[in-house]
């Protein structure tokens, strides 16, 4: 290489040639650089101009009028569908909750059922007929009155059209007939008594709009705006994975929201969302990590809300997976069917350490199946019932059960092989991985080996019963019927090949009896008592160890949101409530009340882009002049 360079230096261009470099040539050289820059810019612009419009199917909306109070919320989860018949994800059902009213709402104070679209409701003496009185003053956003016929049409559609039952079909599974004898009267006849009739989380849609939809399985409700609804907000614009834009429904029967607009803006990266909050581009961020909440906690104008969560975080033991008729399936370790072994494992778990180390204090120590925020159903074991942290007793239990240590300190199973359990964990959940390491250490001291099976998708081994232990967790609704139902014998699969709704293959006759009784019990207090007995039974069975109730950690800008309602009112969360309370109640701060949606784009971009282009051009020209300096005199 150096020889080539030397060759170039040894044979410089004769002076005459340098003389020959005329002004025209210089202009030519400069113009080539300019051509390159122009070509680059033009290509980029052409590309932008061509691609940004014709292929983009989403219609453009008018620019937001100045002076509007806009509340911008950072979200990460993509919308699966904006049809209330199809939407499953929290992001979509949350939007639907703002667009369409339900028959009943949940009180933000203590989660009990309160009037929504229905002002009152009552069961018949035989417990099989429910009559709802529909609010007479509610209107759809297109001005038409909301009637009982709309509700009857919605439920009937779900009962007769499989596609319409996609998201909420389970709510109507026990319905025999739904009728609307008058505009304010809705009658639902049941096949058997059902205590959850004041907790029908089904968005009621306008019949005059939805009856025109030909195929509900393919209609995503995301092309024509504004979407007719009767909730606190009206959907006015949506761009997949960019934003969901809603306008306040000024005629909402409960009162119009104080923010004029609500925008859910997408941030796929949590750190970028936090940066947006710091900057003021968004007003609210949820799902913060301990590190993020700690750093935001020190910033003025930002309030971190470290609220009791609605989830539980548990350790589940394979109880011996089986089908509904008792056919064994899966390959769970048989030693785990011994209650002494399960108790030993649970007694070796230091829940306090997990709260401190794994959740870094952003969780509450677990006990019963339903988190304490649902106070009506919250249960915890008595002192003599509780399985506290006691590794010495755990070792004794294993000895008593016949699982002795060998010379190498490993516990041996009945087959003479060392006990080595597979622990199923979610690869995407850092808490699982961290907690798994602690469990390995604690159980290792007992002489039990653990292999962490961290998978992106744990569904397959879980449903097939091919695991020994697994990290488990559910979000609990104000009405706990669903999370209780997944442990009934009826939830087991019909055959080993079939999937079912069981969570952990638990099947217990006593638990099932209690489940049936609570579902038919219309007295709230007596029903709560039965639910607590179910929790107690589940605890005693020892297949589930609820280790923690992780907090919901979120933050908002106090210079944009002056006041916002949490749920429950005392120490509750904001995002993902059972209702629309947070966004409906949010009050703009006196300063300007709206998040910075990059409004001064034109000016900033003009200045910055101009400086950048000039600097780049200047640099290229300077480089070029330097490079060709030898060619000039």
């Amino acid at each position: 290489m150096s020889a080539r360079v030397r060759l170039g230096r040894r044979h410089p261009e004769p002076p005459g040639r340098q003389d020959g470099r005329t002004g025209r040539d210089r202009r030519s050289a400069r113009s080539s650089v300019l051509r390159l820059a122009a070509l680059t810019g033009a290509s980029a612009l052409a590309l932008s101009a061509t691609l940004a419009t014709p292929l983009n199917p989403t219609p453009q909306q008018a620019e937001a009028k100045e002076g509007k109070k806009v509340l911008t919320v950072a979200v990460a989860q993509s919308v699966d569908s904006l049809s209330p018949f199809l939407a499953i994800r929290l992001s979509s059902t949350g939007v639907n909750r703002l667009m369409y009213e339900y028959l009943t709402d949940y009180d933000p104070g203590d989660n009990h059922a309160i009037p929504g679209l229905a002002t009152k409701w009552k069961p018949s003496a035989d417990k099989l007929t429910w009559t709802y009185t529909i609010r007479s003053g509610a209107t759809w956003s297109d001005g038409r009155r909301v009637t009982a016929k709309d509700a009857a049409w919605t439920f009937n559609k779900m009962m007769t059209d499989e596609a319409a039952a996609t998201a909420n079909g389970s709510f109507v599974a026990n319905f025999r007939e739904v009728t609307a004898p008058s505009p304010t009267e809705l009658v639902i006849e049941l096949k058997k008594p059902q205590a959850t009739m004041a907790a029908l989380d089904v968005p009621i849609v306008p019949e005059h709009v939805w009856s025109k939809v030909k195929d509900l399985g393919k209609f995503n409700n995301d092309k024509k705006f504004p979407v007719v609804g009767d909730g606190p907000y009206v959907l006015t614009d949506y761009k997949p994975d960019s934003y969901v834009r809603m306008e306040a429904n000024k005629t909402f029967w409960r009162g119009a929201p104080r923010f004029d607009e609500l925008v859910f803006k997408y941030y796929k990266d949590g750190d970028a969302a936090v940066a947006a909050l710091r900057k003021g581009e968004v007003s609210f961020v949820s799902g913060l990590t301990p590190a993020q909440s700690a750093s935001l906690g020190h910033q003025s104008d930002i309030k971190v809300n470290d609220a009791p969560g609605r989830r539980f975080y548990a350790l589940a033991v394979n109880p011996g997976a089986r089908t509904r008729n008792g056919t064994p399936m899966g390959d769970g370790d048989p030693s785990l069917r011994d209650p002494r072994v399960r108790e030993a494992l649970f007694r070796a778990v230091d829940r306090k350490a997990l709260i401190d180390k794994v959740f870094q204090g952003h969780a509450v120590e677990g006990a019963g199946y339903i988190p304490p925020r649902f106070s009506t159903y919250f249960w915890k074991p008595s002192a003599d019932q509780a399985r506290g942290y006691d590794p010495a007793r755990a070792a004794r239990l294993l000895d008593e059960a016949g699982y002795k240590k060998n010379g190498a300190g490993k516990r041996l199973g009945k087959d003479g092989k060392p006990l080595d359990y597979r622990l199923l964990c979610h690869a995407t959940d850092p808490n699982d991985k961290a907690a798994g390491q602690y469990l390995k250490e604690w159980w290792g001291k007992l002489g039990i080996g653990v292999t962490l099976d961290c998978l992106d998708n744990v569904s397959d081994p879980w449903l097939a019963g091919t695991y020994d232990l697994a990290f488990d967790g559910w979000s609990v609704n104000p009405d706990p019927d669903y999370v209780l139902s997944i442990h009934t014998c009826a939830a087991l699969p019909a055959t080993p090949k079939e999937t079912a709704s069981t969570d952990n293959f638990i099947c217990d006759k006593q638990y099932d009896e209690l489940y049936a009784r609570q579902l038919a019990e219309y007295d709230p207090a007596r029903r709560a008592g039965l639910v607590k007995r179910m929790e107690s039974r589940l605890y005693d069975l020892g297949y589930m160890n609820v280790m923690a109730y992780p907090n919901a950690v979120e933050a908002y800008r106090t210079d944009q949101i002056a006041k916002i309602r949490t749920m429950p009112a005392k120490a509750g969360n904001i995002y993902g409530q059972d209702g629309y309370w947070s966004w409906w109640s949010a009050k703009p701060a006196a300063s300007d009340g709206s998040s910075d949606g990059s409004g001064s784009t034109g000016v900033v971009i003009g200045v910055v882009a101009g400086v950048v282009v000039l600097a780049a051009l200047g640099t290229v020209l300077a480089l070029r002049r330097r490079a060709t300096a030898g060619d000039r005199e």
Partner: protein, 355 residues
């Protein structure tokens, strides 16, 4: 030479007019050779596409997970409903039946319906494609122009301080994780750090509620940081390939001849050295062009850009088989098409190729 012709004996034996025919014949043979070359490349591309079609179907069925169970996970669903989903998406059919269905429909442009979005896969792709092309296309144009320009200058001024700085910076940026660089740019130029004010949006492609010219500037505003990240990370590769190729050409006799003819150094570089050194760069450019369609998942994630990369990630996590297959087929086809185009362009740049 596949033509098998030998012009020397022809010139010796045939009369003068025949020499003209020989030239025509040689051209004809060259054209035939080129056509044969083109046909070969097109056939190769078709076989590759077929392989992608088959592989895509079976490969993604190895992903653990029951798609129906996963997409309904966390909510109460009756066994009847689960069975209905399987029937709706054809998952109750034997595998070979699903495969023939998939191939037959794919050949007619029907890539199926996304499990999670209940939308035709092609619609989801055409929805996200413009966004990805806008981001990666803009970055592609910029980093290719920058890489070729700086690569050429580095090679021509080989060993000097500018060259060392250029290559050093290019290598450093090329080694930097795009995700990290993106976050750094957000912290510095979006939120603002020290004396630097927060100038650009922290993420997304557009603000809600803009239209017309304001919308164009808004999108351009959102485009700056992700494009800057991509350009910073990607231009180094083009620079290094261009520089290396040009260095190989710099000792060639034809350059000495060009100089001896009286051409200026600049002309020697632009008109002789660079065109002859472009072949590896062209390969890289076409490969990058193919990759452009696939987007850059990490940059799209950190800047929350609603493109194909993010869509692919979402599809894999379900797994949404029709969407995963459709995107895989789409990405692979883009690379195959671009590679084939590169193959077809080579003979135009270097006549020795394809004979």
């Amino acid at each position: 030479m596949s033509t098998g012709t030998d012009p020397v004996p022809l010139r010796e034996t045939l009369p003068a007019p025949a020499a003209k025919d020989t030239t025509k014949e040689t051209r004809a043979h060259t054209t035939t050779a080129y056509l044969r070359y083109v046909a070969g490349k097109l056939a190769g591309a078709a076989v590759s596409l077929l392989a992608v079609l088959v592989t895509g179907f079976f490969l993604f069925r190895l992903i653990p997970g029951d798609p129906v169970r996963t997409m309904t996970g966390g909510r109460p669903v009756s066994a009847r409903q689960l069975a209905a989903y399987r029937r709706e998406f054809g998952l109750d059919l034997p595998l070979w039946h699903q495969f023939t269905d998939y191939c037959g429909k794919a050949l007619t442009g029907d890539l199926g319906t996304s499990y999670q979005f209940r939308t035709p896969v092609l619609d989801k792709i055409t929805e996200a494609l413009p966004n990805t092309l806008l981001l990666t296309g803009t970055a592609f144009v910029l980093y290719t122009a920058l890489g070729i320009t700086l690569g050429t200058r580095s090679a021509w001024r080989h060993g000097r301080l500018g060259d060392r700085l250029n290559t050093g910076l290019a290598l450093t940026l090329y080694s930097v994780p795009s995700f990290w660089l993106g976050l750094l740019l957000i912290i510095v130029f979006s939120v603002g750090a020290g004396p630097v004010p927060g100038l650009f949006p922290t993420g997304g492609m557009e603000s809600a509620g803009t239209s017309g010219f304001a919308h164009v500037t808004d999108v351009a505003h959102h485009l700056v940081l992700p494009v800057l990240t991509l350009v910073a990370v990607e231009y180094g590769q083009t620079l290094l390939v261009t520089r290396s190729a040009l260095l190989d050409e710099m000792g060639s006799d034809y350059l000495t001849t060009a100089r001896a003819k009286g051409l200026r150094d600049d002309q020697v570089r632009r008109r002789h050295a660079v065109p002859n050194a472009l072949l590896p760069t062209v390969t890289l450019v076409f490969v990058n062009l193919g990759r452009t369609v696939a987007g850059v998942i990490l940059v799209e994630t950190v800047f929350s850009w609603p493109g194909l990369g993010g869509l692919f990630y979402q599809a894999l996590s379900v797994p949404d088989l029709p969407l995963v297959q459709g995107l895989f087929l789409f990405f692979a086809s883009a690379v195959i098409v671009m590679n084939t185009l590169a193959d077809l362009v080579y003979p135009l740049l270097d006549p020795r190729v394809g004979r």
